[in-house]
Subunit: 189 residues, 2 copies
DNA sequence: TCTGTTTGCCTAAAGCTATTAGGCAAATTA
DNA sequence: TAATTTGCCTAATAGCTTTAGGCAAACAGA
């Protein structure tokens, strides 16, 4: 019987594709096995568990997202950089909803430490260099931007803004204007 | 054999408690049946499906959250109101993490329409009355605040801020200062 | 090329969850 | 008290997860 040529990388990638097609919570060892025309038990040579598979997809997504972020930030500063990074998150969530959902998976401490999570915080900090904030305000601002990016994208993806006018595109632009203004005029304690 | 006295309300409430104890994604028909010392099949007289159960818990959480919000906003305006509502979300997530997670469940359109979701948007709008924003900026600001509240609470609950200094309490206060400042000086288009 | 080893996928099996169908006894109503 | 409704049960099917052990394909060395 010919072999399917499975390995951890391919499974992770296929799992990410599956997530984008059917949703991250529908990513299952069985479904992935079906996609390779292989029995579910066979995947356990390459992946420790269902949880392990999902964690790997999450790490992949975080990495991809960080790569896109780095590329977008190169050569930009100030509001330009802010908008660029914000758009990376938003576009990624739209293009790859399953992967984006995966990136929100709560990781165990070891995985989190090995993840691209640090790069994300670092990118946000890089943006703030254009706004001349000093510690601890810089950290507060990093957290505020992180909260906002994550929250906005989650709500938009979840359809939270879908019915109401005005459209989300206009809101998005005006929000970035507002955040830029806030960072330029960050209030003293 | 004595009856357990199940009904949809009790199951929903017990499901919410279970969610707070073991996590919303661990809320299962079987686990709930176990908690009532009853067979899983018995729950299907009161609940249409596992999905139905989860939806009911989500609706309960949205309702409780809206009730707390209304109570907190009564008699407050401006920054006072802003902080009060923000704290409602944050405290609820801390006290009832499972319910809070449930409130993030993506609802089908009918359930969403019947949910307290509208009350939440209305509360945020009420806060903005103290900041004299006109449409469409008011809507943009509603969405920004919604994104921020949701994003911050999600990240804090997920441990996103856990390792780094300064502590989240200080960040929280300074973020609310910043949002208040932003709303008072909302930038023109 | 043959041989031995590793590796990869398979079958088998047990355990858990979801869900449906049909039954009997408890609670309610007349 | 009799009739009816209702509530929980047993039984059964189906899917996902995971472990154990087997056989054949791929590979390494002589």
């Amino acid at each position: 019987m010919a072999r399917a040529g499975l390995n951890t990388e391919r499974l992770t990638l296929a799992g990410a594709e599956l997530a984008d097609e059917v949703g991250f919570d529908q990513v299952t060892v069985s479904a992935l096995a079906r996609r390779f025309d292989v029995k579910a038990a066979s995947l356990y040579s390459h992946v420790r568990s269902s949880r392990d598979l999902r964690t790997r997809i999450a790490l992949l997504a975080l990495e991809e997202l960080a790569d896109r972020g780095s590329a977008a930030l190169a050569g930009r500063a100030g509001k330009d950089a802010l908008a660029a990074l914000a758009n990376v998150y938003r576009d990624y969530a739209r293009e790859c909803p399953g992967r984006y959902a995966a990136a929100q998976l709560r990781l165990d401490p070891e995985s989190a430490a090995a993840s691209a999570g640090g790069r994300h915080a670092e990118m946000t900090r890089a943006i703030l260099r254009g706004y001349h904030l000093t510690e601890p305000d810089q950290t507060h601002a990093v957290r505020l931007l992180g909260s906002f990016f994550h929250g906005y994208v989650s709500l938009e993806m979840g359809g939270g803004f879908s019915h109401s006018a005005p459209d989300t595109e206009e809101t998005w632009v005006r929000m970035l204007d507002a955040l830029d203004a806030l960072l330029r005029n960050w209030p003293a304690p």
